[in-house]
Amino acid sequence: MKIVVAVKQVAALDDDFEIRADGLDVDEDFLMYDLNEWDDYSLEEAMKIKEAAAEGAVEVIAVSVGPERVDESLRKCLAKGADRAIRVWDDAMEGLDAVTIGRILAGVVKKEAPAMVFAGVQSSDQANAATGMAIAASLDWPHAAVVAELDYQPGAATARIKRELEGGMLQAVEIDCPAVLTLQLGINKPRYASLRGIKQAAAKPIEHWSLGDLGMDATQVGATAALSRVRRMEIPVKGRAQMIEGTIAEQAAKLIEIIKEYKGEAA
């Protein structure tokens, strides 16, 4: 049986960044890419299931929608032990929102027919917290978001999960499988790639799929298929913090003053 893990390459910004001339995004020169933090956890969860099962019984497939640079993040997933990596990209993909990406990923799920699909709760850059559930909705599969604990035997008809709610509370839920789950930070302790893993990953292929491979067409992934459109991106006016300038010694002295002032008031 297969587990599909959706992984995203996220972008962090340089300290000094600029918005693109068209005002719709940040200038690409200021972006630094990495695998989304949440996806480290969902890949690890899939690896745990694989390793607990008989050798070769579970196949872990990392899938990402994105341009060529995304291969680097998929390589990282292979290095951590994913069996296969698939990158989907097509020039017809335009103005992609989380829902369109979910629709594309659902196309991959239909072809691979896994027993379980994992995505991260959210991406650290755009924080849509929507892609995983968009996969589920496109497939009409059972789904649960913000899963902090998972008890699942490969191929079982149900899984026991714990949803992480607000205020540190959990809720146990039984869910029918196959299902799409979004997994939360802290669900496990993600491994680092071993040197051996990194070496092996370099030799593994990354499968490149286009729309045709998914049996989809441009109307399903173009700008008009999206459920929202970016009109403008802007740098917000900075908040109200009063900055404490000076040398480290001066900054520390001022902080001590603030603490003393608080204690004086409290006394």
Binding site: A11, A12, D15, F17, I19, D97, A98, V99, V121, S124, Q126, A127, N128, A129, M133, A136, A137, P142, H143, A144, A145, V146, R163, L165, E166, G167, G168, M169, L170, Q171, A172, V173, E174, I175, D176, A179, T182, L185, G186, T224, L227, S228, R229, V230, R231, E234, P236, G239, R240, A241, Q242, M243, I244, I248, Q251, A252, I256, I258, I259, Y262
Partner: protein, 320 residues
């Protein structure tokens, strides 16, 4: 006449306060005096729950009766989808909460409605509904619209709108949806215990460490510093997830709201929405971060752009 649909959130018999913020957000979307705000509540004892929804600004409460007392994503999805079809709202407002994360997307995808999450500002521009959310880890604001969609589903960030205060007695309609079924079964709630640790919601002075701490070995220095200044040592989520401090010390949405705190010193914490949900109310926040663009500085009273280790050394030296 436009209709705006708000979906109330409840858990264990209590309506969650964020619902009151959504009513205010809905008011902002009214453009004519006869625009209507509908407030739906989905659950089993819905009449009882509806009695907690007597708020001004609501024209009608719709009690959707299902066969599950607690949230189940497919029941919520089908109930809300049916309401959108029958009531034709221009906007559907849900809290950006864990429950909504489990079904809002499905409502939007299946009905092909406009969709945006974690929205903190709503406006119209020449008739077009414009929602503002954050991007790139809150470093930019992103305005989105929904061309071609007559209805937009939006999840609204907690704390972005003031809760309604005035009471009223809106009309109540019962919508029987007990025929609906879902493919998951909510079971018991589990409170994560404090394990005998201090209750951080009651302390007044907190020094909190975040991922900027780098490695576990550094925690000890900050514990000493906290002891030295009589502060309680707390943390952001990565520190608790790594097990460097107990979960009971985590501040934020899935941790604790430090309601009694008066002075909060944030060391190497970027200021994610979920962390700020636990401390943004604190009157004096001092943030130390090497990144002048860190969003924690947007809510801090004082900001120090510096390395936390240098600040920690210097504080210890000056206190000695």
């Amino acid at each position: 006449m436009n209709t705006i649909l708000v979906v109330a959130e409840h858990r264990r018999g209590e309506v969650r306060p964020v619902t009151l913020e959504l009513i205010t957000a809905a008011q902002q979307l009214k453009t004519a005096a006869d625009d209507r705000v509908l407030l739906a509540i989905i659950g089993q004892e819905v009449e009882l729950l509806a009695s907690q929804l007597q708020w001004a600004g609501v024209d009608e409460i719709i009690a959707c009766k299902t066969n599950s007392a607690e949230f189940e994503p497919e029941l919520a999805e089908q109930a809300v989808s049916a309401l959108i079809v029958s009531r034709k709202p221009i906007a559907v407002l849900l809290p950006h909460s864990v429950d909504s994360l489990g079904y809002a997307t499905a409502v939007a995808v299946k009905g092909c409605y406009g969709y945006a999450t974690d929205v903190f500002k709503l406006a119209y521009d020449g008739g077009a509904l414009v929602a503002t959310r954050g991007g790139y880890n809150q470093k930019v604001n992103v305005e989105v619209d929904f061309p071609g969609h007559a209805c937009a589903v939006m999840t609204i960030r907690g704390g972005a709108f003031k809760p309604v205060e005035a009471a009223a007695a809106p009309l109540l309609t019962v919508d029987d949806r007990s025929e609906l079924s879902g493919r998951s079964r909510p079971l018991e709630f589990i409170e994560q215990g404090g394990g005998g640790d201090i209750d951080i919601t009651t302390v007044e002075f907190i020094m909190s460490i975040g991922r900027g701490i780098g490695e576990e070995a550094n925690v000890e220095d900050f514990r000493e510093l906290a002891d030295n200044i009589d502060a309680t040592l707390c943390c952001s989520r990565p520190i608790a997830d790594a097990g460097w401090l107990p979960k009971s010390r985590q501040v934020g949405q899935s941790g604790k709201v430090v309601s009694a705190c008066k002075l909060y010193v944030a060391m190497g914490i970027s200021g994610s929405i979920q962390h700020m949900a636990g401390m943004k109310h604190v009157s004096t926040i001092v943030a130390v971060n090497t990144d002048p663009g860190a969003s924690i500085f947007t809510i801090a009273k004082y900001g120090i752009v510096a390395d936390i280790f240098e600040i920690q050394d210097e504080l210890q030296a000056q206190l000695a």
